[in-house]
Assembly symmetry: C2
Homo-oligomer: 333 residues x 2
């Protein structure tokens, strides 16, 4: 790895390293002519600055991290695109870190960030995450954190979320309107904000009609979820409607219905929180609560960069709620 560095440029041009450095950063101290010569040579020699040296020196990396459970999820992949689009514009690099819905992984990742590897963090907590010590610790080291989608209550950080409560309410109201009386809510975890808020909306809608709750928590394993849903639908007095709070649960419901010979929407109606592009081509087409994933990503990144640029900004007052949309399709009509 023979690297062209500032010193090499300096020698070639008979200038000092500091002049080169300043010229490259377009300092006002340097004459236009020198700048020009430097830039030209740098381009010719294909000079690329060593990011480790400047991060070490400058105590900032111009890296931000996205910490999410999984990349195989249409919400997260769209959100990543939104985040990237604003980070790139401001000259930041984006590190994608996957927790696989595992609390220990999440802890380890954030622990590492204490080293200064990244200047800030955008995160959606794992479904296992119940307490925020690891997040607090990072914030204590002055690494700003912004939650998007899945926030953790009790941690003082900006949060960019969708209107989970209202969406849960709307989705449930829709199922009731379509004739469901026995609606089950499939949650992800009793700690997760999104799960809880969506569930609260569900409860409110059910309560208003005097209907009974039924809440089931799924795991992170597709196999477990499959048996869970199958058991739910095999019961006597099985639900006639399901509100699934995350995308991956949709598959389990479709599969279970197929295996149990239940037909959607006649026997069971389904609404799922999902950003899947092919929701309309499922059989039956899937009614979704679709989140503004790209916008949420953009907003979260913009908020983080704001925090990064003027450190004094107070994280409160930065929260944002962007509404989701209920898209009615065959699975609930």
């Amino acid at each position: 790895m023979k690297q062209i560095n500032i010193k090499a440029l300096a020698q070639e041009l008979n200038l000092s390293v500091s002049t080169i450095s300043k010229a490259l950063r377009d300092s006002y101290e340097i004459s236009d002519e020198t700048k020009h010569r430097v830039l030209e040579l740098a381009a010719k020699l294909n000079y690329t600055p060593n990011p480790y040296a400047s991060s070490l020196r400058g105590k900032k990396s111009r890296n931000i991290a996205i910490v999410i459970p999984e990349v195989a999820d249409s919400f997260f992949s769209q959100a990543i695109n939104g985040i990237e689009s604003v980070a790139k514009g401001k000259g930041y690099h984006v590190l994608i870190c996957l927790t696989h819905e595992n609390y220990e992984h999440e802890q380890a990742i954030l622990k590492e960030f204490q080293s200064g590897r990244v200047d800030g963090v955008l995160m959606s907590v794992s479904s296992e995450t119940a307490s925020g010590g690891h997040i607090q610790e990072l914030i204590a080291k002055e690494v700003p954190v912004v939650f998007f989608d899945r926030a953790l209550n009790g941690v003082a950080a900006a949060r960019i979320v969708t209107d989970d409560f209202q969406s849960g309410y709307n989705a449930t109201a829709h199922l009731i309107e379509q004739g469901c009386r026995n609606i089950a809510f499939l949650g992800v975890s009793s700690q997760l904000s999104i799960s809880n808020d969506r569930m609260a909306g569900y409860r409110k809608a059910m309560e208003e009609k005097g209907l009974p709750f039924r809440e089931v928590y799924c795991s992170s394993s597709p196999e477990d979820n499959h048996t869970l849903v199958t058991d739910l639908l095999r019961q006597h007095g099985r639900p006639d409607g399901i509100l699934a709070s995350v995308e991956k649960l949709a598959t389990s419901v479709y599969q279970a219905c197929a295996e149990l010979q239940l037909s959607m929407p006649a026997d069971v109606k389904l609404v799922c929180f999902s950003n899947l592009g092919i929701a309309a081509m499922l059989y039956p087409s899937l009614t979704t609560v679709t989140q503004p994933a790209f916008e949420m990503g953009k907003a979260a990144a913009a908020t983080l960069l704001k925090l990064l640029e003027k450190k004094h900004t107070d994280p409160s007052g930065l929260d944002m709620v962007i509404p989701s949309e209920l898209i009615r399709r065959g699975s609930s009509l």
Copy 2:
């Protein structure tokens, strides 16, 4: 960002920084007792080594990059998981870099890597990438590159691919067997290895039966693809079978069929290269060529790490072909 560093540990224990450094790296020179004291204090103070300092010093980052077109694709998201699983085991970090199927983006990303930001690169080239100068340049700087899935011909780098030719052949043969005579191949780009190899397999199968070719190249914009497919299916003498070489084209075909009131599989049969978990729940369920995404990711990472560990290894002889599987479903039966 007040950071605990080696110096702080040294002061606390009345030892020199070099002793601390050696103790942390478990050097044989250091007594067990000292090691113990150091590790204990490090844990207590929550010490995290500064990765920039050690990368700068050691001239290696223990970072590897995944350069892919898009993360919203089930093949790539599964492959990422495979790569991560082996990289993590060897203490490497993974940077995911998105080209958005854009050649300039890809160039810029690789250019940056010349700085030593990563020790090695795993890549699937963008659909726009026709020549490999940027890749060659990186290899010239002794940054090893391993292609996975989408390789670029003419670049001397290891490649982990699936049996594209055979899969294309099998898929086409299957469509012919199901009665199709007028089969169109939807490619991504005339440069892309996967597209070409899959197409070659298609051609062979068609040739064997004396059937005519019809090849259409799609773009990276969903809207364009939609009109392209719609036009194709609106033609007089429209195809009665389609072999789509990448996942995202499936959506376009389903949509176009719906709009044109063509029924699958009666009017048009479809086979698509895809790793979508919900392929079975589409309407009609989608016949897929499913790639061993996770395995390919693992193999690619293992190959790269091999190259990283003993630099003398010759990239030839490292290639690998892992077969895909044709899963017959409703869209072609």
